[in-house]
Amino acid sequence: MDNLESLVDVDRGMISREIFVNEEIYRREQEQVFARAWLFVGHESQIPGAGDFVVSSMGEESVILCRDRAGAIHVFLNSCRHRGMKVCRYDEGNTVEFMCPYHGWSYATDGTLVGVPFLKDAYGPQLDRARWGLVEVAQLENYKGTIWATWDASAPSFLDYLGGYKLYLDLLLDAWDGREGGTEVIGGVHKWLIPCNWKFPAENFSGDRYHGVSHRSVDMVGIGPSGKGRRDMQERNEARWLDVSFPELGHSMIAFLRAHDSPLAPAYQDAPVVADYFRRCEEDRRRRRGEYWRLFGGPGTMFPNTSPLARQPRTLAVWHPRGPHQTEVWRWYLVDADAPAEVKDFLRHYYIRYSGPSGLTEQDDMENWNYAHKASRGVIARQFPYNYEMGLGRATRAFEDHGLRLPGTISDVTAANASENNQRGYYRRWRQFMEAGSWKDLVS
């Protein structure tokens, strides 16, 4: 795409509708973005035992996440090397091998081609089995239980890819009391389709504090953990609101920084046990994290299509591209592994009524993404770029609060209420990926 320059003008906050609806751009995205970037695949707790597997998706393609007999975790393309048949059509299970139902080639859980009918008689020396195992990702990382992978051997390590964003992603993945890791998935991954381009939800989660109107009906009805509004607002009301972006990485998050001298905030009042649990967590958190205890997360997006939501309802969403005009959403729900059963159950109920296609809140997001996309496809509409001017030029790369420095390009929107700092950072990186010839051009 030689004309990306004119389509994505981040400095002026103008982005063409073409990048959402154009078929050729979509096709390029598969090669330039999804075949290169680190993508979220699943969670360790989904495959606890040897031979356990779940089927997941990377970009448009089906992959198998499994643990081999030796306990090592792998991610394979779910396609036979012989004629491409999907070797696993189950969503999950436990197996010793994946046998292809077409001609019976079978692959061990470490991907090696172990079974070939009539191997000696029919193939003799011709078939070099070692070269025909399942296609495996080039790099894989198990980061605090979350499994990430990339098809590109020249991609940087996951930690380099994550960069300074680590501090924020950890807000989701560490236990609420500040211990490293310690989160698990509660059973059941939501999967559903939305008729819009995959970047609508990705940018919305990257830092859209601005769409309160979408959810006003929920605020009126009240589904929050304290029975009011969407969430417990009080602690946020006395915190600084920060839109945190890493334009050079594409990652971003909505964050809240509480006052250095702020007291604990009451929450979950109508559920004493839960309220009690979180109070204890926060006490421990202060002890363990020092000044960082003050930092709380919200929704964010890790480039390109994974969105952590770092507070209740704590979730990880992946926006899988399914053609330029459709997105398949997968949603994982996280809780502290060792939280009391009652707390887990309380949160489970909250997640269900809040999130996904059966959640009161996100139904309205999807309606908006659906028709925002649809109304942007026409020959006239495509002449008018979207507006990303909000908060242009207000961000700092050197944020500090009472001696606490935070990484990232940060826009303090406590007064402004909202900015498009994060969206701009996201699309800046998106354009780099689309223009890059290889990872060489993407690492500075």
Binding site: D91, E92, I186, H190, V221, I223, S358, Q363
Partner: protein
């Protein structure tokens, strides 16, 4: 004969109840619909997975344990209804055109001795056709198992289990 007749009238009675429920939903009389549930009602719809035929126990997510499509009581149902009534629940404004087709109503064996049981378990099938705005169209098809309780003369839904015949939800929402 007379007890077969009693069962027949019972079934007739319950069919009428289920049809009236569909009527209330499609007429968008959501508050009246809500009244059809007992206060302790449990509304449950699991997710489904593709699993080997010999591991059926893995197929459905579990009530009270896993994340499901629905797993809630009347309180949350009430909030859903109230949200629609705000008129700014964009996913239902403008309102959808829905049609709940109910069939295969089966009243599971009740004590023949008791012609007027206070609780009955009822199986039925549904096809929900939803069309909205211009051409947006969904089909939601599956089975339900309800426990109906007799409350001063009429019936109310005490438990509902909905089995949708989809794994990846082929719709953008379940309103």
């Amino acid at each position: 004969m007379s007890d077969r007749l009693a069962r027949l009238l019972l079934k007739e009675d319950i069919e009428a109840f289920l049809y009236q429920e569909a009527e209330l939903l499609d007429e968008r009389r959501y508050e009246a619909w809500l009244d059809l549930f007992t206060d302790d009602a449990h509304y449950f719809m699991p997710m489904r997975r593709n699993v080997p035929h010999d591991e059926p126990e893995r197929e459905f997510t579990r009530a009270g344990v896993d994340v499901n499509w629905f797993d809630e009581g009347k309180d949350t149902l009430t909030r859903r209804v109230r949200q629609i009534l705000t008129g700014i629940h964009w996913a239902e404004e403008p309102p959808s055109r829905t049609c709940h087709m109910i069939s295969n109503v089966q009243v599971l064996a009740t004590d023949p001795a008791d012609p007027t049981p206070t609780e009955v378990t009822v199986r039925s099938r549904f096809l929900v056709y939803r069309n909205r705005v211009e051409t947006e169209t969904d089909f939601l098809v599956g089975r339900r198992e309800d426990v109906l309780r007799r409350v001063d003369g009429g019936w109310k839904i005490a438990r509902r289990r909905i089995v949708l015949d989809q794994s990846v939800l082929l719709a953008k929402n379940l309103t």
